[in-house]
Amino acid sequence: MAQTKRLATRIARAVHEQGTVCLPVILIVGVFTGLVLGLQGYHVLSRFGSQGLLGTLVSLSLVREMAPVLAALMLIGQAGSAFAAELGIQRNTEQIVALETMGVNSHGYLVAPRLVAALIVFPIQTALFVILGIWGGSLSGSVLLGVDSGVYWSAVHRAVEARDLQECFMKAAAFGLLAMSICAYQGFHADRNGSAVGARAVSACTTRAVVLSSIAVLVTDYIISSFFV
């Protein structure tokens, strides 16, 4: 009972760390992605006289692809890199070995709460990204470029189906689990990087964690999308 309570506390702390650290970035990137999608989409659609489909374009682009991928990349850049660096330092300063000599399961203590937190935080941040992105699209499309607000929101409402939301959240959860696992692995094995030692090993493991996680997200995105189209 006491152990379960402590695990729950560590998960809550990890959710708080990942969630609050990344929130401002998600808010800013979400709004600006929507603004740009609205702006570009309006000018492309106006060539065909289909400005009324702006809501459809913005919402489906965000829900199916842009929100899960961009939110994941932002989270990797902030929470993933911090996680890899923290583990790398803990490995370098023998803190992980110290845990193991105490009989503490270092993976269970250091990694598991962050993975569970990623399964919670990535979908929530993605949902926020979608909401802010669609709002940003309406800001540029309706307020700045003159698309009727009712038409925009009605197109959004008609375009997004349960299947799209399912794809969006499935991607977010998969990206979270995958990215944080890669970051954890890189940080945990910072000492196994042939040439680099000390601070350089930490910087090398952090760089590898971000690069490999980002590639993994894009590859996984393609695989999951291919099952939904």
């Binding site: 006491a2 330092i89 023998e94 070995v97 110290a98 105490m102």
Partner: protein, 265 residues
């Protein structure tokens, strides 16, 4: 009911370990009596830390047997190794304190993670351990805010809070000045008597080890060259012991010689 304890806490037979074809430990045999302070001496680079890390399961030996309280700690005996981890603590040369946790959280961590004790009981035990080591005013300080000596005491508090039967000390005085070296050995001796654990120390500080230890072993070229009491060590005619014992004196004489030849400013 208390089970009968083996009089030899730790029994090492023919321990071997090498790296990239270079042999570091070439068959170490050692018996550490229960409740004693046992120091393993040796010059830097003779494999003292490797020996200790093999004992603590941080490294896997290439060959040899390690028995704790009569039970073998082989690679296939995970139950015995888990039990060894519960009954043994390791004090790292670098202290290996958790830098993002306070002193109190550092000490509480092994109890929180390896026992089912309640929050209050854990807090009491941690406060007690920290008070014993005169750290009660620094409960909420982070390791970086503590001096080197305090960090060492904090690491010792973390090591003893689980009430271990065996504490392994890896160069506990490395990088400390003579006064602090004395203080650390005095601290180990004091708390070993207070908590009645078996202490295995690897060090190259001869005078301090001679004063604080019940038994001394000398590790030379991957093998134990001498085992005995501090008195036997001091009077031994073993050439390896003599060479190592007198090295501090020889260093002093060399420094005096250099000073004699230096031009006066």
């Amino acid at each position: 009911m208390e089970t009968a304890k083996h009089p030899i806490a730790l029994h090492v037979d023919g321990l071997q370990k090498g790296f990239q074809g270079k042999s570091v430990l070439r068959g170490v045999d050692l018996e550490v009596p229960r409740g004693s302070i046992f120091s393993v001496l040796g010059p830097s680079g003779t494999g003292k830390s490797v020996f200790l890390k093999c004992l603590a399961n941080i490294m896997q030996p290439d060959a040899g047997r390690i028995r704790f309280d009569g039970r073998e700690l082989g690679a296939g005996n995970s139950a015995a190794r888990d039990e060894f981890r519960r009954r043994c603590s390791f004090l790292f040369q670098s202290n290996a304190l958790f830098d993002s946790l306070t002193a109190l959280e550092n000490v509480a961590l092994p109890l929180e993670q390896t026992t089912t004790l309640g929050k209050l009981e854990i807090l009491n035990r941690c406060r007690n351990a920290l008070e014993q080591l005169e750290m009660e005013d620094f409960l909420h300080h982070y390791p970086a805010q503590l001096s080197g000596g305090m960090q060492k005491r904090l690491a010792l508090a973390r090591a003893i809070v689980t009430r271990p039967e065996l504490v392994l000390f890896d160069e506990p005085t490395a990088g400390l000045d003579p006064l602090r070296r004395n203080a650390v050995f005095a601290m180990i001796a004091k708390y070993q008597r207070h908590f009645n654990f078996t202490a295995l120390i690897v060090t190259h500080d001869v005078p301090e080890a001679l004063v604080a230890s019940d038994r001394i072993a000398l590790l030379d070229q991957g093998r134990i060259a001498f085992v005995g009491t501090p008195a036997e060590f001091s009077s031994s005619s073993n050439p390896v012991v003599s060479l190592f014992r007198d090295s501090a004196q020889a260093l002093g004489e060399s420094l005096a010689e250099i000073r004699r030849h230096q031009p006066t400013p």
